[in-house]
């Protein structure tokens, strides 16, 4: 771990990524203490100060009901990060197990499981999530559910392709020869070889889940007000372009910076861990 961090920080772009990610995680964690207006997290109104451009008082201006945009972005990072972590924490194990089973067992199990995965992969992620949000109530939990439902197949496919090629490797054969059980081979022998690719993908996916989740709320089908969310902040402000540009530009840049950080870090990890897919 320490070694990985040292190698990462040698490449300036990876170091930048690591820095951005640490910064954003800290910002989200410490939001209640560092936000200039911690109470602007919720349904507060301050019509005397509404729709104000950036100033010394409100660094990124105020929104239509007078809340400090900078404070809301800090809280919105909490929402985004929690959502992304929960989605990946559920989707990754599911996809990994499905991919391992399909890739190692082969035969009919492989055909059926991978066809199911194909079905999920043949609908653009955002559209599937939209369709699910169409029948569910737009809440944070349901948004997580919808994004998770469309996310696991990508891990299944990744792990499947590795497991299938590892299945032919000598060490798997050796384990089979000494009579190791299926579960043992799949989880103790093959899974460790998939981990670098999984970890890299999870890092990159933190960014992509943030993109998808903010897209849902941008269309009004995700997290609902007054919970601060970057996507809905951009959507609200989009109607007031170009005069109240700060309403959209700052939340938009906030998404860009967070995703950019995870992408840089993921790219760096890919090089460090020697992942080629």
């Amino acid at each position: 771990m320490k070694r990985a961090i040292r190698i990462l920080s040698r490449n300036p772009l990876s170091a930048l990524g690591l820095g951005l990610v640490v910064l954003i995680v800290l910002a989200a964690l410490l939001a209640p203490w560092i936000a200039p207006y911690p109470d602007h997290n919720g349904a507060v109104v301050d019509f005397l100060n509404n729709n104000k451009p950036p100033s010394a008082r409100n660094w990124m201006g105020t929104d239509l009901v007078g809340r400090d945009i900078f404070s809301r972005i800090l809280y919105a990072y909490q929402t985004s990060l929690v959502l992304a972590v929960v989605v990946l924490a559920i989707a990754t194990p599911i996809g990994t197990v499905v991919g391992l089973i399909a890739g190692y067992l082969g035969g009919w199990t492989e055909t059926i499981l991978m066809r199911v995965v194909d079905v999920f992969l043949s609908i653009p992620p955002l559209v599937l999530a939209l369709a699910m949000m169409g029948v569910l109530k737009p809440t944070l939990t349901n948004a997580m559910l919808a994004v998770t439902a469309m996310w696991w197949p990508w891990y299944a496919r990744l792990v499947y392709s590795i497991a299938r090629s590892e299945r032919e490797e000598g060490y798997v054969l050796a384990a089979e020869v000494i009579g190791a059980g299926t579960t043992h081979i799949a989880f103790r022998e093959i899974l460790p070889n998939c981990l670098p690719a999984i970890i890299t993908k999870m890092t990159l996916d933190m960014g992509f889940v943030i993109i998808i989740a903010s897209s849902l709320s941008f269309l009004g089908l995700g997290v609902q007000p007054p919970t601060p969310d970057l996507g809905s902040m951009v959507a609200e402000g989009a109607n007031y372009l170009p005069d109240s540009w700060w309403l959209t530009v700052f939340p938009g840049l906030a998404i860009l910076i967070a995703v950019f950080g995870f992408n840089l870090l993921g790219d760096g990890l890919r090089d460090v861990l020697g992942v080629d897919r």
Binding site: P124, L136, V234, P242, I255, F260
Partner: protein
Amino acid sequence: MRSIVRLLAHRLLVAAVVLVGVSMLIFGIARVIPGDPARIALGPRASAEQVADLRAQMHLDEPIVVQYGHFVADLLRGDLGTSLYTNRPVTTDIAQFLPATLELVIVAGIMMIGIGLPLGMLAARYRGRFADHLIRLVSLLGVSAPSFVWAVILVLLFAYFLPLFPIAGRISDSYTVPTVTGFLLVDTLLAGNIRAFGNAAWHIVLPAFALALSGIGQAARLTRANMVETYDKPYIEMAQAYGFFPARIARIYAFKPSLIPSLTIIGLDFAAMLGSAFLVEAVFAWPGLSRYGVAVILRKDLNAIMGTVLIIALTFVIVNIIVDLLIAFLNPRIRHSTRSSA
């Protein structure tokens, strides 16, 4: 050639299986809806009788398997049901809105390939140098924001701040073009109206670019990675040993072998733009499937939701088949193989 026909047959079969799966998935999603779809459709003020009528009409009282049977039977007849939002057949609605979305996605796809591949090629050829680092940074930025953020930034910069492009819409109101295909870029040409074509093209630049940006970044990164790998191949050393010009090696000898593995993913990215189009259309008030899709989702208009998702899945599957054929065409190993490859 025979192997291509066999490949196509195999792909069509897989596509059919996938589409059946998609129909089940969508049907499944539609049926987990909490509450009574008929009641939701009719609103709280409808009488119990009206609701019961609609339930019967929608086969809601029959077992779920039978319901799915009705759904598939209607589907095969090309009947996606009636939209409760527009009160028209869903197929009519889709036929009206889909062309605008497809037009946007196709133009964005052309931008993705036309800009992304050359950028990746340049980065690979000058790997490790300034141009490479710059292209890497730019393409990573491209994939790091949802398309609605790019849309907002582009509008702000190139429509408001520098008024180079229109703010919204597909074409200025002063032009009337008879609808033939629904693709304005085609219809204006069919009508022989060059000025209208120019106007439509001018309108599509910003939304298509906003939609294409992450695809451009993805395509550039992928092309670079695959080409860097190809540059280590013996046949590139051979080309260098024979003194072929570096630009020619990059453009032809390294590019074509590395394009083949990139294409599958580029196809997926292309199809993913069908989803992102929803976001871009919202910013540019583009009269495509998105506004319809979001409207029917908000109204829980089940027939319309299922129809929209099915059409998008169908387009996705078709794009993948086209990409597979393209790969077969580019890769002599597949084209000349005697047995079908899975």
